[in-house]
């Protein structure tokens, strides 16, 4: 095949795909058709151990709907979602960072849908349009997982703030997630850049990079590495730190003094030529009281008041720990910040970022 024909083939391929994507999007906006049986594909960035607690609740209620879970880190799910724009594979997005959903929405990939009970969701946890394009379920925020045994062995003090992490004694002892693949990574970088101004923020990240052992693929891995002693300090997120401590690992959950970056996990209906009614059934369940109670056992901040007590290990007033975070701004700048970050630090990244 000559270069020229291959070029033509490819060009027409892309054009064809785009056309296919734009073709019949017949499903009337606002349709509320449901189903009690079927098979749906759900993209999610929820933790595996969370899914294993949440999903059985749905299966009990809708035993005839088969749910195929595609779970990966936030950045991966986002990239996959965007890459499949012309021919979406997912029916539903469940528990993906709102900033990612904002990007997808901007590309016209979401179908507005108001799930049953959406009125009970706090206003700042859902899209302001009606019907909303996305609906949040909970909030997670950055936390350090510090291995107390290794800390003692290395005879270094417990870090309590972002600034502490720059101290030379932590050199090579810190692991954090790569923001390109990990939502947790991104909210931490975003938090630094918002806490300080942007120029100062990058300077801070440059210095942090000097202390960094490796950037991991997922947001939970730094914490798990800390739990196994493979690193001393893992920059991760609240649930992971609290969970592993509760599991008996020598982990201390540290919530940095300056405050934590945070992000809302949200659900959305993917725009497809033919929307599977079971997808709506799933979205309804995903903000039902049952589901919310389950979320509340993982996270102290949920999109709906559930009456579930704040799980042990969290700050008494978790809202105070959160920095002021502009989700829309974070979404708009996501691409630029990630590019910049990659240019500066990617060489240190663990495979797959």
């Amino acid at each position: 095949m000559s270069f020229r024909t291959s070029h033509l083939i490819l060009l027409s391929l892309i054009v064809g795909l785009l056309l296919a994507g734009c073709a019949p999007t017949a499903s009337p906006s606002g349709s509320t058709e449901k189903a009690t049986a079927g098979e749906i594909t759900v993209y999610t960035a929820l933790e595996d151990d969370q899914i294993s607690k949440y999903l059985p609740l749905f299966n009990q209620k809708h035993p005839n709907i088969k749910v195929n879970i595609v779970r990966d880190s936030t950045g991966i799910v986002t990239a996959k979602l965007l890459a499949e724009k012309a021919n979406p594979q997912a029916d539903v997005v469940w528990g993906l960072a709102a900033t990612s959903l904002l990007v997808a929405d901007k590309q016209g990939m979401l179908t507005p849908y108001a799930p049953e009970g959406v009125d009970k969701i706090r206003a700042d946890f859902k899209d302001s349009q009606n019907p909303p394009h996305w609906v949040g379920i909970d909030t997670w925020f950055s936390a350090f997982c510090v291995n107390t045994k290794e800390l003692a062995a290395k005879k270094v003090p417990m870090p309590t703030s972002w600034d502490d992490l720059l101290k030379p004694e932590y050199k090579g002892l810190i692991v954090m997630p790569n923001p390109n693949s990990s939502g947790t990574g991104y909210l931490s970088v975003s938090a630094i850049l918002q806490l300080k101004d942007e120029a100062e923020g990058w300077k801070y990240l440059d210095k942090l990079n000097d202390n960094m052992a490796v950037y991991t693929h997922s947001g939970s891995k730094p914490c798990k590495m800390a739990g196994a002693g493979e690193t001393v300090i893992g920059i991760s997120f609240d649930y992971r730190a609290v969970q592993q401590k509760a599991d008996g690992q020598p982990i201390e959950a540290v919530f940095p003094k300056e405050g934590s970056g945070w992000e809302t996990e949200a659900n959305a209906l993917v725009k497809k030529a033919k929307i599977n009614p079971a997808a709506r059934t799933f979205l309804d369940w995903a903000i039902s009281a049952d589901a919310m109670k389950a979320y509340a056992k993982s996270y102290p901040i949920t999109a709906m008041d559930t009456g579930v007590a704040i799980p042990t290990g969290y700050p008494a007033d978790p809202l105070k720990q959160l920095i002021k975070n502009d989700l829309v701004k974070a979404a708009a700048e996501r691409e630029r910040i990630l590019q910049e970050w990659m240019k500066r630090y990617d060489a240190k990244s663990e495979p797959k970022s």
């Binding site: 270069f3 033509l8 195929n68």
Partner: protein
């Protein structure tokens, strides 16, 4: 004189068998077709992708230029080459010694050493990485002096930190991964030496070193070249080990993965794929050029070599093999140990809780059973297709161009890395329409995408060449005149195939089946881009678990895969022995 051969008789015979000829020719046509669809056609969109930008515009070599100008990426190419080169030299050298001990000394326990050396073949390369993490990682057994046990016993810290993450870890892991592959080749080559050459050398009072130089090495020359090629290709393209212990040390295989899965950048993925393909293709061509010159080292008059006991050589051989076998057993054993330790390294109580995969990613037990099913299908469909193709290529009379083309196509897959196959399959099978010269052609194979069938196809192609060569070698050992005799008896070829060819080749057929099964069980690279969410597989689950930091669960899944593969192999050995007792009676000389 009576007219015993009227025309009518010949005509009647003719009508009965004409369709059979067409059938065979049709089948060889199908063989070419499936090889084209499985191998060649999917490579076309891969190449065109690498020469286009994200919107499909032709950009020539721009992607390659960009690759080499991106510092984080460009290093990987050199990294991959260096790591693969070092691994290859080490693996072939170590395997040479091991093969020498197995074929040229009379050391005891050869069966044991042979079996242990093969163990890594039954493990995903990720598992080897995981074993290394638990041995040499920050909290590894060796690094911490057996978790402080050494210090308690000896009163002084005895840990040894080899700085696993990076080149050291990758080379160690690839070494274990490649070692058995090199060993298999060298042992076969080693057992093909004519004993008379050694007798001659001995009679001429040549020193041991001179015998090594003039008899052993020349007879192993072709085996060595093949071993170098196989090891280089494996080490250069493997992704499992680098994924687990690579740390900040990027290599091409992990780069492709990063680009495709991490950033969904298929264009760059295609570009790096071609970079991954180039050295393996060159190595492949060199290997074929060398192998073409190979004379038959074993004539019918050759005498098989029977090593005689030689105290010093046997002791050295035993020690050497014990060391390597111990290294292999320790790494694999560590995987099993890590799988049952409660919280490494803080709570060493034994538990089976890591085998409950519900709280970790990857699809858990379902993924495991999917893998077993996939491997089973790969084995069954694979052996039928492979043996059938090899048979048609070897036995079809005439149609030289088609059989020649099929043979050539059958050689290609050995040079194709699994990641490249996976990516090429996405480009080829995923679109609903192919666009050829501005025309939208409905993709007749689109229905395969996201099914078990495409996973099976990818696996068959990935492991095709070795299976094909096994089948061809077995077929070539049969009397070339069987088909001529059958034709003269007017028995259709498929009947002879079934009644004679298949029974005679049964050992090879079973070996191919096994080869497909084991490799499909442990492969990750060919399926990682292709598996649909409804069909997750165990090896990919290990990747996901490792990504999420659930290393213990990853170790548990690895252990499960190893146990299954080894178990199936053992069952196979028992069954094959039973079967051969019943079906291979004709091999016995006595009535």
């Amino acid at each position: 004189m009576t007219i015993a051969y009227p025309l009518a008789r010949l005509r009647r015979i003719g009508r009965a068998t004409a369709s059979e000829e067409r059938l065979q020719q049709g089948l060889i046509g199908l063989t070419v077709l499936w090889l084209l669809i499985g191998i060649v056609l999917p490579l076309a969109p891969l190449v065109s992708r690498s020469l286009s930008d994200a919107d499909g515009r032709f950009v020539g070599a721009a992607n390659f230029v960009r690759y080499f100008r991106t510092p984080g990426l460009a290093w990987s190419f050199g990294n991959s080459l260096v790591v693969a080169a070092i691994t290859t030299v080490l693996a072939v050298t170590l395997a040479f010694g091991y093969a020498y001990a197995l074929t040229r000394t009379a050391m005891p326990g050869k069966g044991f050493f042979r079996a242990v050396a093969m163990l890594p073949l039954y493990a995903p390369s990720l598992a080897i990485g995981i074993g290394l993490v638990y041995l040499f990682g920050k909290k590894g057994l060796v690094t911490t002096g057996f978790l402080g046990l050494g210090e308690r016993l000896l009163g002084t810290p005895v840990g040894w930190d080899i700085h696993l993450y990076g080149a050291v870890g990758i080379i160690l892991g690839e070494l274990l991964y490649c070692f058995p592959q090199a060993l298999v080749i060298l042992v076969v080559a080693g057992s093909l030496t004519d004993a008379r050459l050694y007798e001659a050398s001995h009679a001429l009072r040549a020193s041991a070193l001179r015998t090594l130089w003039t008899v052993t090495l020349p007879s192993l020359r072709y085996g060595l070249v093949s071993a170098f090629f196989v090891c280089f290709t494996l080490a250069f393209t493997d992704f499992g080990v680098a994924k687990v212990v690579g740390g900040n040390f990027n290599v091409l295989a992990t780069d492709i993965y990063k680009q495709v899965v991490g950033q969904q950048n298929f264009t760059m993925g295609a570009t790096i794929s071609l970079l991954l393909l180039t050295p393996t293709a060159i190595a492949f061509i060199l290997d074929r050029l060398v192998q073409r010159k190979q004379p038959a080292t074993l004539t019918t008059r050759s005498v098989p070599f029977q090593p005689k006991p030689a105290r010093r050589a046997d002791v050295v051989g035993t020690l050497y093999c014990s060391l390597i076998a111990a290294a292999i057993l320790i790494v694999i054993g560590t995987v099993f140990y890590a799988a049952v330790v409660n919280v490494w390294p803080y709570n060493l109580r034994l538990t089976l809780r890591h085998f409950d995969f519900r709280a970790v990613g990857g699809g858990g037990a379902v993924a495991f059973w999917n893998t077993v099913r996939m491997s089973l299908y790969t084995a069954i469909v694979g052996v039928i297709v492979t043996f059938g193709s090899a048979y048609l290529i070897d036995k079809t009379r005439g149609l030289r161009s088609l059989t020649g083309a099929s043979y050539f196509l059958s050689m290609i897959p050995v040079a194709l890395p699994g990641l490249v196959i996976g990516l090429a399959y996405i480009f080829f099978f995923n679109p609903r329409h192919w666009h050829v010269g501005g025309l939208a052609v409905p993709n007749p194979f689109n229905f395969l995408y996201g099914t078990m069938a495409i996973l099976v196809l990818a696996n068959i192609i990935h492991f095709y060449t070795v299976s094909f060569m096994t089948a061809t070698t077995a077929l070539k050992q049969l009397d070339a005149e069987f088909e001529a005799v059958a034709a003269s008896l007017r028995v259709p070829f498929y009947r002879t195939f079934w009644r004679v060819t298949v029974p005679l080749c049964l050992p090879a057929i079973l070996e191919i089946t096994m080869y497909y099964f084991i490799n499909a069980m442990v492969t990750v690279s060919a399926v990682i881009f292709l598996y649909p969410p409804s069909l997750r597989v165990a090896s990919v689950a290990i990747v996901n678990m490792d990504d999420a930091g659930d290393t213990a669960a990853a170790a548990a899944m690895s252990a499960l895969l190893i146990l299954t593969s080894v178990g199936v192999r053992l069952l196979y050995e028992v069954a094959a022995r039973q079967l051969s007792r019943r079906t291979q009676r004709w091999r016995m000389r006595d009535a």
